[in-house]
């Protein structure tokens, strides 16, 4: 009140008045430029609209269904909006939106995105969500080990919602034609590859072309399958360990025996799918739901048994895709409420057969729409329990893994190995140096 009267009584020139008017007029303009920042707030308890950003995880039908689920949320003081973010430059999209305070309150995203933004102080920890899941019983429904990679000293960085699993698939008719048994270990993988080659098929199908990370995943999988991995248990780079060298020497042996397609280095995922569909791929690492993906549901494409490494190790790799919450939210309580709600609705996506990944909840693996496929059952039973993350031999995920997965260092390494251009130690040494320079930044 006193301020008002002092302004009213003070002498004000015409120019001064115009200046003040202009300044006042510019405030709404600047506020408008701020976009959603005003509406997002910073974590109070007022409720509002929770912005949920989701990726195109499958066909457009998936996004339609996910939108319906998200928009079906009706919290105590809030509702939710749904937006699809394309994979193309997604990290830039998230970064610029977060920097301008127009980002989501909750989102799915890249496998290690939550850790990247956590490093930058943008992530809201999900410990209270975990508490709520414990109280509503969903916590006990998680498949074994799927939550652990998200637990850091400060709390849960995100909550997993689907598992992008890498498993070996095979074409039954080609093995019959080649009259060879399914591989159970590395020597039998080599023998099967040689036999498949005689019938014009490849025994270690992979690809490293534009946008295709399967060769990268195959290399890391073979390291992990031999008890190795990119990192030590405490997260230090450890590419030159004996197990990794041995694993890459074995892959090079596969290459030199013509068991890896010489054109694989340029294969996109579509090219790889075509190789599977055309009966050129006999055996190789791929994702969940390969028959649907390649368009051959005749029953000839099947999930193989996990193979044992020379030292008795048995493992594969998994990317636990997750849902994360951000600090910039109209209400942290509403974000948590939404996330608990959404996790409870996930079953619908598998019920509609929209997902090409494993669910994280045991109850979803038991629904008829999922369990009626023997390949799914085998993956849950035989592969999920032995799955490890890119952080292996460590356990907890971290921001550095984003630069490893899909980064230039791993891509160069995989291409070098599957073209047989180098010996294992040299390739690993180059990989280690390249990765060290990236992880420093």
């Amino acid at each position: 009140m006193s301020t008002k009267s002092s302004i009213a009584s003070s002498p004000l020139s015409r120019r001064g008045f115009l200046g003040l008017t202009a300044a006042a007029a510019s405030v709404p303009l600047l506020a408008a430029c701020g976009g959603g920042s005003a509406s997002q707030g910073s974590g109070g308890g007022a409720g509002g609209t929770i912005k949920f950003w989701d990726m195109p995880w499958a066909t457009p039908a998936y996004n339609d269904a996910a939108k319906k689920l998200a928009e079906g949320f009706s919290g105590a003081n809030s509702k939710a909006s749904y937006q699809i973010i394309q994979w193309n430059n997604f990290y830039q999209t998230f970064s610029s939106a977060i920097a301008s305070k127009t980002g989501p309150a909750v989102s799915t995203g890249g496998g290690f995105q939550a850790f990247q933004f956590e490093q930058q102080g943008q992530i809201a920890y999900a410990d209270k969500v975990i508490d709520k899941l414990q109280s509503n019983g969903q916590f006990d429904d998680f498949l074994p080990g799927v939550l652990d990679p998200f637990k850091t000293d400060k709390g849960y960085v995100a909550v997993p919602w689907q598992l992008d699993m890498r498993v070996f698939w095979y074409r039954k008719s080609l093995f019959e034609k080649a009259n060879v048994a399914l591989p159970t270990d590395w020597p039998s993988l080599l023998e099967a590859g040689k036999a498949l080659k005689k019938v014009g098929a490849f025994g270690f199908t992979t690809g490293a072309g534009s946008g295709n990370n399967y060769a990268n995943h195959s290399m890391i999988m073979m390291m992990v399958n031999n008890g190795g991995g990119v990192f030590t248990k405490d997260g230090q780079l450890d590419l030159m360990n004996d197990r990794n060298v041995e694993a890459m020497e074995f892959v090079l042996e596969l290459v030199s025996n013509g068991i890896v397609d010489p054109a694989a280095v340029s294969y996109t995922t579509d090219n790889m799918s075509a190789q599977w569909k055309d009966g050129k791929a006999g055996y190789g690492l791929f994702q969940v739901n390969v028959p649907q993906r390649v368009g051959d549901t005749s029953g000839d494409l099947l999930v193989a048994d996990p193979i044992t490494g020379p030292h008795g190790d048995k493992a594969t790799i998994v990317f636990p895709n997750n849902i994360m919450m951000y600090n910039n939210t109209p209400s942290q309580e509403s974000s948590e409420e939404f996330l608990v709600y959404y996790l409870g609705q996930l079953k619908e996506l598998w019920r509609q057969k929209l997902m090409s990944a494993l669910p994280v909840f045991k109850s979803i693996t038991e629904i008829p729409e999922f369990a009626s496929d023997p390949n799914n059952v085998k993956i849950v039973k035989d592969w999920q329990p032995i799955a490890k993350t890119f952080a292996s031999q460590g356990n907890t995920l971290n921001a550095n893994l984003a630069a490893l997965d899909g980064g230039q260092a791993l891509n160069q390494f995989s291409q070098t190995i599957i073209t047989g251009k180098s010996d294992a130690k040299t390739a690993l040494q180059t990989f280690q140096s390249a990765l060290e320079s990236v992880l420093k930044k």
Partner: protein
Amino acid sequence: MTTTTAQSGLSRARQGIAPGGGGSGNRKSKLSAQTTRTFFWLLLPSVVLLVLIHGYPLIYAAVQATHDGNLLQTGNFIGGENFASVLTAPAFWKAAQFTLMFTIVGVFGSWLVGLGLALLLRTRIPAGGTFKVLLLLPWVVPIVVSSTAWNWLVATPDSLIPSLFRNLGLGTPLFLADPNLAAVTVMVFKVWVSFPFMMMMISAALASVDTTVYEAASMDGATRWQQFSQITLPLIARSTYISWILMTIFCVNDFPTIYLLTGGGPVSATTSLVVLAYRTVFQDFATGPGVAIAFLMTMTLVVISVILYRQIRKSSVE
């Protein structure tokens, strides 16, 4: 009008001086201070807009190139460290070498094909208009579609073109898997995508050439080659240089052609500077070095453009 008068008139016309006008110096002196101020205020919004559109991203990029941050945080100032690390990296020079080859082949390959087709379409051939439209297709079709089509033509040993080679007894070339063949394939693809642009530029230039010049040359006994080299090429030189500048910029900045077809592989064989910059920023999350690469590219393009622009002015004077 005497020659001197005509040249003087042309010179005045080039300077934008109307007949009877006194030249810019004279005109300037006539402008009152108030008019200058009016011009200033009228221009200001456009200048501010240009600075915001071009200046701000440039300044922000400069800031990122001299800091060790990421897409979200600027980080600490590190001076020219990013530039130093980029310039001492073998990957940068390998990419620069490929970019140079890609640009040379892309510019001159598409120019030669475009020139040949423009000259061919200038002659009276049946359904010339239809051919012109059909020849524009590689330029018109979205690059995502054409790169996918090319991928299916050459990617696997059983794709159409490798199969054709095999049936002809020429082995099974791995067009995208062999580093040398992949580089050649990407360049051929670039020429295929770009020649319609060159064809249109040259066709437009040829259309403005007076045909009586050729008739006169013919009567003077000039051969076809002499007509082409002494008349056609000089008369379309201006358009040629402009198209070279534009195509150089297109090639150096060309991301989708390379990335969609090979992703820069195999083993970096087709990684150009723009692909390297993209991968450094968005796959390695090393923002500073990636932006430094983009800066170096921009500087190189500016130098090339200035050199070629001087050629345009030279050809105009000639």
